[in-house]
Amino acid sequence: MALVEIRNVYKSFKREAQTVDVYSGLSMDFEEGSYTALMGPSGSGKSTLLNLIAGLDKPTSGTVRVEGSEVSSMTSAQLAPWRARTIGFVFQSYNLLPVLTAHQNVELPLLLTNLGKKERAERTEIALGVVGLADRMDHFPRQLSGGQEQRVAIARAIVADPTLILLDEPTGQLDSKSSEEVLELLRRLNDEFHKTIMIVTHDAKAADRAKAVLHLEKGVLLERSQLSGAGVAT
C-alpha cells in the first residue's frame, strides 16, 4: 500500500462568477521514502495537491488517503492532531513566528505532544543540529538570513518526526548558495533519515535533487521522470 493514495480527485474553485477546474479525476500514489518534485506552470495545481494531502483543503470529490487514513473525510477537529503527527509543512516565505526564537519556532509542533519540557528541548536541539543551526537557536527570525530562516522552517517540519514532509517552493526566495544548502539538507533527510518528501518547485535544480519528478499542467499529470529512485506511480 502506498503512503499517499490519490484516487479520482476532482477539485474546482469558484473565482467570482466562474468555476475553475483544477483536477478532473486525478489519481496517483506516493511510496514511503520517496522524494518527489512536482513541477509545472503556475495554476497547474501543484500547491493544491500539497494542500489536499496535508488536509488543509478538501477535494470536490474523490479521496486522499495518507497511511491508510482518509484525509479528505476527516473533520477539522480530527485533522489538527493528525496533521501534527503526520505532516511537516515548509512554505516558500518560511512563515516563522517573528516573536519566537528559532528554538521556540522549532519547538512549536512539540507543544502539541505529551513530551516533557526537557525532552522537547532535546528534540528541538537535535532538529536544529540536523539543519546546522544549533548555534542560532536563540536568534529571532529577523536576526537570521533567508537561508537560515528556511532551515529553521525545515527543522520545525521535521522535529515531530512526521511521516511526510511537504515543501511548497522552499527555495523560491533564496539565493543560489542558500538554495543549495536547503536542497542538500532535503536530500540528506531522504537518504539518511528516510523521510518521504514532496516538493513543489519551479526550479529545475531543485527538481534534479529529487528522485522522481512529476510534471503537472492544468491539473493533469503529463510526465513522470524517474531519476535515482522509485516511489511514484500513476
Binding site: 500547491s47 494542500n51 496535508a54 488543509l56 483543503d57 477539522s76 477537529a77 489538527a80 492532531p81 496533521r83 501534527a84 503527527r85 505532516i87 509543512f89 512554505f91 516558500q92 516565505s93 512563515n95 513566528l97 517573528p98 516573536v99 519566537l100 521556540q104 512549536l108 509542533p109 507543544l111 502539541l112 519540557k117 522537547r120 520545525r156 515531530a160 511548497d168
Partner: protein
C-alpha cells in the same frame, strides 16, 4: 503552562501597544471603582442614618437658617421626643488645603441625639463645661496630629475672624460612615460673636415611632408653611442624601457620565485588542498548519485578552483601593468612610471578564474559523 511562553511572546510583540492597552484598562477600572465607590459611600451614608431621627431645614435652601424659636415649637409636636440643632461653620485651617467639616452644635442635646459619637466621659464633661471647647474625630488626630488640650485656630469664611478652640475631646465613630473627621464646637460660642446672624442651620429631632415620620413631617411643614422660614422636614436618610449632593446631583453624575467615560475607554481598548489579533491572521494559519486545533487557537487568543484585561483590572482596582489611603480622600466630612467595597471589586473583575469576552471572543472565533488555505494564499 507549556503554551505560556507563546502567550507571553505574543504580548511582547508590540510592547508599547500592550502597555498602553493595559494602562487603558487600568484607567477605566480605576475610574469605574472610584466613581462607583463615591456612589456606594453616599448610599451607605444614607443607609446608616437613624430611622428615628428627622431633620428640619429651610425649604427655600439648605443654606438658609431657621429661627431659634422653632426649637420649642418642634418639641411640642406629637411623637417628637427631643430636639437639637447645628450649624455649618465652613472655616479653614492653615492654608486650607486639607478640608474637614466643622459644625456648631448644641453640645448636650446633640451628643445625646447621636450615640454613634463616642467620647470618653471625662472628655465629654470637659467639652460641655467650656464654651470655646471642641471635640474632634480620630481622623483629624491622624491627619493633623492634634491632641486633647491643643488650641486650634480656624479662619471663618461664613463667619469672618480667627476662631480659637481648645480640643477637649476626641470622638470615635461607631459607624465609619458617620465619619471620624468632624470638628464640633459650641453653638453658643458662635452665637456670642454674631448674635444678629447666627440661628440654627437645621434642627434634628428624635421621634418615638419611625412609622410616624410622614405624619410628623407634614404637621411641621404645614405649621410653618406661611411663615418667613418655611420648612422642609424629612428623615435623616433623605437629609443625608441631599446633603451629600449639595454640589449637584453627584450620584447621577457619577453613575451616568462617569460610566459613559469608562465605557468609551473600554471600547477603545477592545478595539486595540481586536486590531492586534487581526494583524496575526497569517500566523494563525501557520499554527493550524503545524497542527494547532481551532479550539487551541481560540483558547490562546482568549488567554491573551484575559491577561491584558485582568492585569489592567487588578492595577486599576488596586489603585482605587489605595486612593483613600494615599491621598486622604474620604476624610474631611464630605465623603466619610469612602472606600472601595468588596462588591465594587467583584463588579470590577466582572467588567474585566466582560472586556475579555468583548475584545477576545470575536477575534478568537474568527481565528478559529479561519480557512487555512485562504489565509496562506494571502501570505504566499
Amino acid at each position: 503552562m507549556k503554551f505560556l511562553p507563546l502567550v507571553i511572546a505574543n504580548l511582547k510583540r508590540h510592547k508599547l501597544r500592550t502597555l498602553l492597552t493595559t494602562l487603558s484598562v487600568t484607567l477605566a477600572l480605576f475610574l469605574f471603582a472610584s466613581l462607583r465607590s463615591v456612589v456606594t459611600t453616599l448610599s451607605a451614608g444614607s443607609e446608616v442614618s437613624s430611622a428615628s431621627r428627622m431633620v428640619v431645614q429651610n425649604s427655600t435652601a439648605f443654606v438658609i437658617p431657621l429661627p431659634m424659636s422653632y426649637a420649642n415649637r418642634l418639641s411640642s409636636v406629637p411623637h417628637v421626643k427631643a430636639v437639637t440643632w447645628a450649624n455649618w461653620f465652613g472655616g479653614k485651617y492653615g492654608d486650607g488645603k486639607k478640608f474637614f467639616a466643622q459644625f456648631a452644635i448644641d453640645p448636650a442635646s446633640y451628643l445625646a441625639m447621636y450615640p454613634e459619637i463616642q467620647v470618653a466621659e471625662d472628655q465629654k464633661q470637659a467639652f460641655l463645661k467650656e464654651r470655646a471647647a471642641a471635640i474632634i474625630g480620630e481622623g483629624l488626630v491622624r491627619s493633623f496630629g492634634w491632641k486633647v488640650g491643643d488650641n486650634i485656630t480656624l479662619q471663618g469664611t461664613i463667619f469672618p475672624g480667627d476662631w480659637t478652640f481648645t480640643v477637649r475631646g476626641i470622638y470615635h465613630a461607631t459607624l465609619k460612615e458617620y465619619g471620624d473627621d468632624q470638628f464640633m464646637f459650641h453653638y453658643d460660642y458662635l452665637y456670642e460673636k454674631y448674635p444678629d446672624r447666627v440661628t440654627p442651620g437645621w434642627f434634628i429631632m428624635q421621634i418615638d415611632d419611625p412609622t410616624a415620620a410622614p405624619g410628623v413631617a407634614k404637621t411641621i411643614d404645614d405649621q410653618f408653611r406661611n411663615s418667613n422660614a418655611p420648612t422642609k422636614t424629612g428623615t435623616e436618610k433623605a437629609f443625608a442624601s441631599g446633603f451629600a449632593s449639595m454640589w449637584g446631583n453627584v450620584k447621577l453624575l457619577m453613575s451616568t457620565i462617569g460610566m459613559a467615560v469608562v465605557f468609551a475607554i473600554l471600547l477603545v481598548t477592545a478595539n486595540a485588542m481586536m486590531m492586534n489579533q487581526r494583524e496575526r491572521t497569517s500566523e494563525v494559519a501557520v499554527m493550524k498548519t503545524v497542527g494547532f486545533s481551532d479550539r487551541r487557537v481560540f483558547g490562546l487568543i482568549i488567554i491573551e485578552a484575559a491577561v491584558i484585561s485582568l492585569t489592567g483590572a487588578l492595577l486599576g482596582l488596586g489603585a482605587a483601593a489605595l486612593l483613600p489611603i494615599v491621598t486622604g480622600f474620604g476624610q474631611g466630612g464630605f465623603l466619610p468612610g469612602f472606600h472601595v467595597t468588596i462588591g465594587t471589586m467583584l463588579f470590577g473583575i466582572a467588567v474585566a471578564l466582560l472586556l475579555t469576552i468583548a475584545s477576545g471572543v470575536f477575534p478568537a472565533w474568527q481565528a478559529a474559523r479561519l480557512p487555512v488555505v485562504q489565509a496562506l494564499r494571502r501570505v504566499e
